[in-house]
Symmetry: C2
Subunit: 254 residues, 2 copies
DNA sequence: GCATCCAATTGACCGAAATCAACTGCTGCC
DNA sequence: GGCAGCAGTTGATTTCGGTCAATTGGATGC
């Protein structure tokens, strides 16, 4: 209400990249000194996003890339027939919006899974800065490439893995990313619904629910609604790689 | 054998971007005049690739991006457990190798499906040129983004679509790309095996075979080994979008 | 505090596609 | 020319995960 609150909010949001705790995980990785200061000028802060509200939608004009500063989001596409596919869940430090580079329109939607803070990187500013800072361009490409590689993993999972492995891989991947954020990698708080998990994994909600139960019964997890504790990381790792049918494996290559 | 043959071969391969028939579909799209000449200096020609031989493999150091000039390739990943997933089939004008930008190593393999010609774009030269030609950077990002969007479509297919739709979508997509190359979009010559198609679609070979038979029986296709004629494009389009279960559709978004 | 609503779980049943198996027919090689 | 070997097809059977249905239980609101 009063201007004090506004200033406080701005202080919280307006922080330079150099002092941001996500520094090493975010776009600035590998960019230093004056270059980093210049990058700072390209970053516009963005108000917080409430759970369920959208950062961008399918068809929106491309204006900026976005970095998750806090909270989490999901991105998804919908085809003409209306089927919805979740592409990814995004944790702090991760960059969204690359889908729009091709056509200057977003072809997916990004929605907050919880109260989240976002840094906005207006694309034209970013391009201006990267004229002076060649490293920025390379870093941007690296980040996109990283995202492509992650998508490849998703694709392998969807094409080849049975249900239990999918969930195991999903949980392990989340745990890995949590630990990179210096959070516990054995005690996860899932910000997405079972429905979202199921959709992301290409499974039915019921299957995901049953798998959670089964993994709890076998002592791998302790599940309590959104909170998942990994009791046996070793067993979870095993579940990620059980043997499956031969025809899916490498054929004659090599 | 004689030097005449060598010169002919070089003539065929060493052609500037400006005169290349793939011009408008390839990296040079949107780059003109002197900029295009400069881009030309970054392009090293590459010998032809025989069917079954690899352009790069998992673990290879990243040196260059590659453009398919003629023929076709498949790219695939293999996880630790050995399951292989084909990521894409690449037709003339398409660019490969972006997966290596993230880590400076390829994390996938590219293999020729038939005798193919390749343009090599050494990455350091490309970066040098793009310092002078800002449009090149943007174009590169656009191309990567386009690839990401294509991967999203693949992901929707894998996660949500039943078998017949997958094959229909695959064929229609191929037909579209053929027509952009000014080839017939009703008469396809599949350079990949049934095995490859099945793997790409996340299905068993037998399922793919049965689907081809069924689509022939219903008069949609005329199939003869590698050659597929689309008799009823309208029916094929319908098959791409039949109705499926409600839980996969959009939930409350909007 | 209680009613409503929706997320999540659990159970029973079903079906699409995988697996297993047999066979056909190219293709290439001696 | 004939045979080996593999790609592809076809059929029978199984199975994993989806669908349908009922129930639980945590939140939210009055």
């Amino acid at each position: 209400m009063d201007s004090g609150a506004v200033i406080l909010d701005l202080n919280q949001l307006r922080r330079s990249c150099a002092s941001c705790s996500l520094h090493e995980l975010c776009l600035p990785a590998g960019i230093y000194g004056d270059d980093l200061k210049q990058l700072d000028t390209a970053i516009r802060d963005k108000r917080a996003l409430e759970r369920g509200s959208s950062l961008y939608r399918d068809g929106d004009a491309f204006k900026a890339l976005y970095v998750v500063r806090s909270g989490s989001l999901k991105t998804f596409v919908q085809n003409e027939a209306g089927d919805l596919q979740i592409l990814a869940f995004h944790l702090p430090g991760e960059i969204l919006g690359f889908d729009a580079l091709a056509s200057n329109r977003h072809v997916s939607q990004a929605e907050a899974l919880e109260h989240s803070g976002i840094c906005e990187l207006p694309y034209d500013r970013l391009m201006q800065v990267s004229n002076d800072v060649p490293a920025l361009h390379r870093q941007l490409m690296r980040v996109i490439s990283r995202e492509m590689v992650a998508e490849h993993r998703h694709l392998v999972m969807m094409g080849r893995q049975p249900a239990q492995e999918r969930l195991a891989i999903f949980l392990q991947n989340l745990a890995d990313r949590y630990s990179r954020l210096n959070r516990s990698d054995t005690s996860l708080t899932l910000s997405m619904s079972r429905h979202d998990i199921a959709n992301y994994l290409g499974l039915a909600v019921e299957t995901v629910s049953r798998l959670f139960t089964r993994m709890q019964e076998t002592g791998v997890l302790e599940v309590n609604r959104k909170s998942v504790r990994i009791l046996r990381p070793d067993l979870l790792a095993e579940l990620c790689n059980t043997q499956h049918p031969a025809h899916l494996k490498r054929h004659d290559h090599d």
